[in-house]
Symmetry: C2
Subunit: 403 residues, 2 copies
Amino acid sequence: MGILSKRSKFADSIFSEEGRYADLLAKEGERITSLDSGDPVKYFKTPDYVINSYIKALKDGKTFYTKGDGLADLKDAVIKRYRRMYNADFDRDSVVVTHGLSEGISMINSAFVDRGDNVMLFRPYYMQYPVYVNMNEGKVITQDYNEDNDWSIEIDAVRKGISKLRKLPKYMMVTNPNNPTGTVLPRRVLKELVDTANEHGIFIISDEIYDEMVFGNVRYTSISEVAKGVPHMIMNGASKNFDATGFRIGFLITPGKDKKSIEVKNKLIDYALTRLCVNTTAQYAIADAMNNQRVHNVETRRIAKEIEKRVMFSFKLLSENEYVKTVKPHAAFYLFPKIRFDMLKIKSDKDFVYRLMKDKGVWVREGSGFGAPDHFRIVSLAPKDILEDAILKINDFCRKNKR
Amino acid sequence: MGILSKRSKFADSIFSEEGRYADLLAKEGERITSLDSGDPVKYFKTPDYVINSYIKALKDGKTFYTKGDGLADLKDAVIKRYRRMYNADFDRDSVVVTHGLSEGISMINSAFVDRGDNVMLFRPYYMQYPVYVNMNEGKVITQDYNEDNDWSIEIDAVRKGISKLRKLPKYMMVTNPNNPTGTVLPRRVLKELVDTANEHGIFIISDEIYDEMVFGNVRYTSISEVAKGVPHMIMNGASKNFDATGFRIGFLITPGKDKKSIEVKNKLIDYALTRLCVNTTAQYAIADAMNNQRVHNVETRRIAKEIEKRVMFSFKLLSENEYVKTVKPHAAFYLFPKIRFDMLKIKSDKDFVYRLMKDKGVWVREGSGFGAPDHFRIVSLAPKDILEDAILKINDFCRKNKR
């Protein structure tokens, strides 16, 4: 008997290995340009209205334990936000505040998944989703977003996929806006997906943590607009929309009044109570900042617009590289190019990422970590001169490795 | 197939039920005196040196994602603290920063426990320990602290207990100073326990979150002083020693350089990386406050001394009650009286707690939640007038329910 549990082997990520390699190169004196981490705060200071709310909460002594499932003030701010933005309607018990969405993902899988249970994810997925399914000894069933159709979902394929299963998935989960592709799902497609889930009695979950990071001319639909009356969950948080990654504030919202939704929301509260509470001061800060709607809108728009410029700048530069093919993003801060292996002397996305890091000092992430080998993810948050330098290096790297 | 996982039934606590009952009574207009929650910040404002460090970190823009396993500055502060206090020696990789010790407990059980694995806990235990063992489908094996011997551990009984097991526990866990009893383990006993664990190859874990909350004349021993060379883990955090419960900063420390310890510490880092990081600003705040040793010592002594006064005040008042019997605490802020059912018309600790709440508006916690039925836990943090009123009510309640 080893000291570690068998399931603990799933607590690992190919990105940790990338990180160790980057550290190694840095120790050898290499200068690494990191386009790996989706942290806007590295380039855009958390705005003053958020920081000031945080400082006020500290000065007001808000440093005690609060309710495990979340501060009432923050829950109320979330309820108001969803009413304002999406005309959604739910009560306090529908909202659970988590240590960032990471804990949210963990909680969802603990609540839903027993050994051998199926979960349906769409590829490419956020890297953490399958990790927590696996830790709970569940089985990941995948469907693909269609890269050739703007990374949308083909409903017929989903229906066919479901019909082939001997055991229905406990839930299906989409990311919208998407990480790593930066695309958003059309309203019609999202509605059809919700209907499909509902017809089969599959609980549907939408991770919408980038919902205010949508580019100017794009129409965005939250699941809360098209799933009224259907058992569903919304994942969101403060990291991206409030440019406050280090606060670690996430939300799980289960609006329904149906039996399934009520079972789920009550159980999420149980999990939340079990581990006491989330950083109290940060909860007060985000509640206050979320209610400070006018300033929030101005600041978030300012940051999102600047990020859009940087993403489009990178997208354009990368379009000059015939050895990769990239779908134009609609939101967030990612590019997810497909590698044209037919034209390159490179054998895998891992090979691509490690050699790029070694030869050019540019760190991007392997698509395999997102369930989409043959791709890599670029975080396009750095200032233009850094992005320009890095992407020209990627382009040069491809040219030097052409077949 | 229900929507929830089978194991999710373990995400529950009898204290949640108590809480709902307290809420209900409050709604009916009852004034409830809450002696249920071990939150010092409710009565002792988090000291200025900690708050100022936190505000400084916010003003300095420390709101980004930091390393998943913990901020290097905080790890270094923890290393220095243990060198200073216990002459212990370990490196950065030995320390993992968690979302409070709650997440630490969860992480430990994920890392160690597969379905059917044994874990050895000592009763009374902190209520969360068995919850996470059960969530991982492990089995709790118990040994008892000996109430008749100052809640110490009888090593012979432990040896005998281990010898009867068909399968050794993956780890054994003690709480020292103890919650809910408020006692500390004598150095000799702790050393014997460490030796026993080592002889049987059982990993030993000591939760020492109250290690600076020890009363004036009591000699305290950390496991780090008596387990050199033996695979062990120390649990600690900022909640109690820094009077900063709402920060949610915990530490797991695995000092060993043996094979088991290295496997464990590396796996804990993997778990930590999987869920990104702990609130970054709070980590900077505690790093800074921990390095501010002189001020920290003065402030922590001041608070601990005042708490000692309150605990001893409650202890004395409660000694006048012949219907309960309480071991004198040496640390922390709890009293854990045994109920003399032979003298009372009360049938269980649950009965005691609910009727006390209804009749007298005083909320204490059921011993059953700590694995010790026939007891209840009093948190003795409130100002003396509140404590006096509440404990006189408890005494009166007992008299009125005498056989």
